[in-house]
Amino acid sequence: MEFGFTETQLMLKASAREFLEGECPRSFVRAMEQDEKGFTPDLWEKIARVGWLRLPFPQEYGGDGQDFLTLCLLLEEMARVCLPGPYFSSTVLCGLPLAEFGSEAQKREFLAPLGDGRRTMSLAMLEPNVRYDTSGVQLEATARNGGFVLNGIKLLVPYANSVDYLLLPTRTKKTADPDEGITFFIVPTTAPGLTLTPLGTIAHDPESEVAFENVEVSRDAVLGEVDAGGVIFNKISQWGAIGSCAMLVGAADVVLDMTTDYVKQRVAFGRPIGSFQAIQHHCANMAVDAETSKAITYQAAWYLADGMPADQQVSMAKGWTGDAIRRLYSLGHQCHGAIGLTTEYDLQLYSRRCKMWETTFGDTNYHQDRLSRLAGL
């Protein structure tokens, strides 16, 4: 058994931390929460230049060939600074499916531009039924004139108002098994019939409702096979869930440090509040939740990186980590008292994002239920 990380992984973590501390101060994060696009071309170019956009892609398409566990370590670092921008939705949730399921032509067309920042994408998964599994795919794609016509709504699409393409699952055939009859499409955001409405989220990131009204797409726009997109949906759900866990784990470390720093210096009743047992126990409980979440998240990331079947490990990790980090930031708030609730203080930057990551790709109830069924119960 080996719990350590490779030299490459450790170097990536260290260099990412240094880079992000310089390039992403919290003042920038706050400014981007007020910005319509939510990130800057300058930032995107810098991220491209350090090679992160091409990190997980195969080398033959200009990538670095790094595995999913390594990618998660980078996501952890990004979450530590609340990095704005579509890295997760573009590189991870669209880039990885393109690399794994794309045709030769699609890989040639998309991976290099995604990798050097010339092109961005976003995943449009959730619909008004807000179901996390394949039964939630109800947006209709009807075959017509050799192509397809799309009708329906996608919700909570990150950075839809600035990316070039969307990747979305649609329902091309209704059968008894919701895993069957799904088709993924790559659709340019400029497509006629596509309307964006901005949504206001708890994380203050630019998310949209994307309405499809008779949006025409050609057959070339299909990712993978028609009606056989269920496998892509499930894979993206796994990457989404564990990528979210990685971000939760990164944020948790910062919240724990912020909290211990605060309680060491905040004085009440004549002594630092960190010397009171109630506060000490809150902090100890936070440490337990941080460590258990790391353990279960890294295991799932490793399973995915190693290409092993990982459904149970993914649901264990997401079901646990979402809840655990919610407990963690809640205790963080409790230890901070009222100051931690102000916008001026940094804690709320993390708690609001953590709530987002806890919920997307399945909350705890969903994954606990799913785990019990996967275990044959």
Binding site: M1, L256, T260, H281, A284, V288, S293, W302
Partner: protein, 391 residues
Amino acid sequence: MDLRLTPEDQAFRQEVREWMKAELPPDWDSKERLIDFEEPEWVGFAQDFRKKLADKGWLVMHWPKEWGGQDDPLKNMILTEELSYWGAPTGGQPVNQLSAMLLAHGSDELKQYFLPGLAQSKWKWVEGYSEPGGGSDLANIQTHAVKDGDDYIISGSKIWNAAHADGDWMFGLVRTDMDQPKHRGISFMLINMRSPGITWEKVPMMWGKARGLVTLDEVRVPQTNVVGESERGFYVVMASLDAQRASLDRLANTLRIVDLLVEFARETTFEGQKVIDRPGIRNQLAEIMTAVECLRLMSYKVAWLQSNDQPCTREASIVKIFGPDTIQRAHRVGMQMMGAYGLLEPGSKWAPLYGKVENGYLENFARTIGSGTSEINRNVVATRGLGLPRG
């Protein structure tokens, strides 16, 4: 990162399992909660079991080679986990904490005398830490010694141990210098339980088993029985508690109960209703399955860090908090799953899983109390792990 066990390790685990199943009493599964390895009728069996482990070269694999070990803590971990999973007797404190302390601090005479015998499971041991007047506040112990020639004369009492199981030797903390306060003036020493002046009684506990209360009334102990420096005993013991192994026996107990509950949930209906479909059960069971997986990963990580001679205080302290909570929660979930059937004791008609959940539920109240209360462990994580100021 690679979380797989090697094929050799898996083969060893299988070998242990097969050997152990042949050695345990017949109908072990149904009798497990009724058999007490500390009761007179079973004490001999448990000792023989440990001696057989020693004969197979399995009892002290984690020890240094010069004292009969194999320098292989990972292999010991696999053995301990397997034995504990099935509730079989393990080496326990004598071949872990006590021998670690002897190796680190014992005089040559003490090492030569005790270590070979410990490796052969020659004696039954009694822990002498907690007293009726204090457990968490170990620095405040009152059992005291007065010098008499080359000996100490010791009086006091020790509780919550296995004294009632016909112990041969005690390892414990005694105040040897009354002029020094609190944690100074305490020595760690070995006391022959067959000495005149030692009596013991059973303290029945609510899960049907007992602990021991030992009274020492002017017991004569050679001063050479002190392990380490005199008056430094508190630090010797605290260091060994810090270095405490990942408690993989506890992990295994927890894995076992959750495996039993999952199997129970898969197979059981109460008059037509599947247990898994009872309200709230599905998510509770999934949560505890996940918690146990977290515990397994963290316990293995501690063992891995230790076998690589890396510091593991933070992870080990967290396991000390998370482990007891998890096993308690597992039993609560089990009781919930079983509904009113969960109220039935081992041996009762209708008791599911031979009463393992009911009995384990009661016994595991001790988990957040013994070997360091959860409150103390949280204080330790906060002050030593996170650097918070002491109160």
